[in-house]
């Protein structure tokens, strides 16, 4: 097991290098760079920048150098100093820009994930063990609604409803009166109130799919012969359910933790934009529009890295949870 993990970790290095190269290549693809975008923005607002001035800006930011040199400088900074480059748009290091938004992004994503599991796992289990009951139909209905409704639409409707019926502005992280205030109990409570809506909306979508996946898996497992064997042993239905079929049915749910990692980091883009939650998703969108290349590149790189690390975590989880995988491929 340990050897397997070490081997997989070593394999990460070349993959990450390749990914960083692709990430950089992708953000180089659109014509022009940040300076040309900036110049055209200024021109749109009536300010004409001389070509000399533009060239000076290009030199200042190193944009006049060939792309492979910029790539190596960028990677060198990341690997040696943890420096992800400079965000032109924000006028500060990329690392700082991301770090500012990371806590709130992670808080919302993780809480939404826990919320969706707390809702979905009991419903999924009940729904499978009471197939075609009223609750099952209800859960199926909610599951499909959760799956089918676009999150941003739900966000708009609920934000409107909160304002209309509770007089509560759900947009942003704090009510306006707390914006410039230092941290206090009241401000914290106010923030928690603002978190509820994004949590429910983001959680709903994944809860819907988790209910469906868990119900389907559990129905398959419940038909298996080992369930009858366990029943014939004299095990009570509850003990039986949680020791055997639920454990096997949850594997696919938990093994997707890895894929969720990048989503946890980025947060829901559209929902965050609609509810003005300052998470990393909207940041990626805006930086792409502004051709703020190091910021875009860094976020893409981090997302890719998290995807790779995430699938490693999934594989390790599965090997730990399922002896057939542990003793099958790994021992050879």
């Amino acid at each position: 097991m340990l050897v397997y993990i070490i081997r997989r970790l070593l394999m990460l290095i070349p993959i990450l290098l390749l990914v960083s190269f692709i990430a950089f290549f992708v953000i180089e693809l659109p014509p022009g760079d940040w300076v040309t975008t900036y110049v055209s923005q200024l021109r749109a607002s009536g300010i004409e920048l001389s070509s000399q001035e533009a060239q000076r800006l290009s030199q200042l930011y190193g944009l006049d150098q060939p792309s492979y040199i910029r790539y190596f400088k960028w990677i060198e900074g990341i690997v040696l100093r943890g420096d992800f480059g400079w965000s032109f748009q924000w006028g500060k290091p990329v690392g700082e820009v991301i770090a500012e938004r990371l806590p709130i992004t992670l808080t919302i994503s993780l809480l939404a994930l826990v919320f969706s599991w707390l809702v979905a796992i009991p419903i999924g289990i009940y729904s499978a063990t009471h197939q075609y009951s009223l609750v099952d139909y209800l859960a199926t209905f909610i599951g499909f609604i959760g799956l089918a409704t676009p999150g941003f639409l739900l966000a708009m409707i609920l934000a409107w409803a909160a304002n209309q019926y509770f007089g509560f502005s759900a947009l942003g992280l704090y009510s306006t009166e707390f914006l410039d205030k230092p941290w206090s109990m009241a401000k914290a409570i106010d923030m928690l109130k603002h978190l509820i809506l994004p949590l429910i909306i983001i959680g709903m979508a994944s809860a819907g799919s988790t209910i469906r996946v868990l119900r389907g898996n559990l129905l398959d497992e419940l038909k298996k012969q080992y369930v009858v064997t366990a029943r014939a042993k004299g095990l009570s239905e509850m003990q039986l359910l949680f020791k055997y079929p639920v454990r096997l049915a949850l594997n696919p749910v938990f093994s997707t933790i890895g894929w969720l990692l990048p989503a946890i980091f980025a947060g829901e883009v559209l929902i965050s934009i609609v509810l003005s939650v300052p998470s990393i998703g909207p940041l990626l969108l805006r930086s792409t529009l502004a051709q703020d290349m190091y910021l875009t590149g860094s976020i893409v790189l981090i997302l890719s890295a998290l995807t790779i690390v995430g699938s490693l975590i999934s594989d390790i989880y599965l090997a730990w949870a399922d002896p057939r995988i542990r003793y099958g491929g790994l021992s050879k």
Partner: protein, 341 residues
């Protein structure tokens, strides 16, 4: 039918139906037979004859819904300390209640057909065998339960049981897995073991070993065995008495020797003609003509009527033949023998 004091299981007029969307399946249409203490009863029948449903009824594990016991009783005579006997009617007990659960696995246990899928793939065999002990003897320590599991695995012929107990089912061969299954069914020293086609999924040499093992274990532990099979020769090798079932009814019942020497029911005769023999002449095998009727069909008369070669139109398809004792301890459900009596 025999000495009533030695009866362990007494099934009386058991009727089980499955209520499906497509209609009602009359799985058992009034099954009666007894299992003697310490003896082996062979139950023979094609698929759909109700042999497995009968086994499920004895354990109270008929899948419900859609299955339901609509009539009849399954009486277990469980000897208690001294001479007293506790009589339990399984069909009256709530299927997941504590009383039936204290019987399952402890008094009556089951060996299943598919040793591959009958164990949970993600728990060790030891874990699953020890679980049987821990359910019924909560006072037994983990270490003690493990000792018992190892001992039973040794007894059923699993080599190096103290190592193999921590192995997972997929690390065992089919035959070894079935031995582990037998160990699990015997670890609580039950009075009855129901073997539901335990060797169907195994090859012939392993089958012979498993049958031999079951006989040895019966001699040692003295439990009764209900051996379910569609294979006459296998049942002939292990059973003391045989019950032949067809579409939810017992058609013929006798001791093994009697049934093999004097098969009386046309169905049993037809079964005999459809299997090859080593010493017999090299005639073509005669399959039973026709196909098994639809499971939804309701039979007014004898269920074998449509395929029977000796049928009497106007008699057999009008009413159900009764069970008659044609020779001593040899019972047949057929109109061919009612007139002569």
């Amino acid at each position: 039918m025999e000495n009533a004091n030695n009866v362990l299981v007494d099934i009386q007029d058991l009727k089980v139906q499955f209520f499906l969307h497509e209609g009602t399946v009359h799985a058992l249409e009034g099954v009666s037979f007894q299992i003697q203490q310490g003896k082996t009863l062979g139950v023979i029948g094609e698929s759909g004859s109700g042999k497995s449903v009968t086994a499920q009824a004895i354990m109270g594990i008929i899948p419900s819904p859609p299955g339901k016991v609509v009539d009849g009783r399954v009486l277990l005579n469980l000897p208690e300390n001294g001479a007293s006997v506790r009589v339990v009617n399984v069909t009256e007990l709530p299927p997941s209640g504590s009383e039936i659960r204290s019987i399952r696995g402890k008094e009556v246990s089951m060996i299943f057909q598919e040793p591959m899928t009958s164990f949970s793939p993600v728990h060790t065999l030891g874990n699953q065998i020890m679980e049987a002990v821990r359910i019924h003897y909560p006072e037994v320590s983990k270490r003690e339960a493990r000792e018992r599991a190892i001992e039973m695995m040794r007894r059923v012929g699993i080599p190096r049981p103290e190592e193999r107990i921590d192995a997972y089912p997929f690390q065992f061969s089919g035959g070894m897995r079935q031995r582990a299954m037998i160990a699990m069914s015997l670890v609580c020293n039950p009075r009855l073991v129901i073997a539901d086609e335990p060797t169907t999924a195994l090859d012939v040499t392993i089958e012979a070993q498993i049958l031999e093992l079951l006989k040895d274990l019966q001699a040692e532990f003295g439990m009764s065995i209900m051996y379910i099979s569609h294979d006459l020769t296998v049942v002939g090798g292990v059973a003391d008495d045989v019950v032949v079932m067809y579409l939810g009814l017992v058609m013929e019942q006798a001791s093994t020797n009697e049934l093999f020497d004097n098969p009386l029911h046309p169905y049993t005769e037809a079964l005999w003609r459809s299997i090859p023999t080593i010493d017999g002449d090299l005639d073509r095998l005669t399959p039973i003509r026709g196909a098994l009727p639809s499971p939804f069909a309701v039979h007014q008369g004898c269920p074998f009527f449509s395929r029977c070669e000796k049928r009497i139109p106007g008699v057999c398809d009008v009413s159900r033949p009764p069970m008659v004792e044609v020779r001593p301890q040899h019972w047949v459900r057929c109109f061919l023998y009612t007139e002569s009596k």
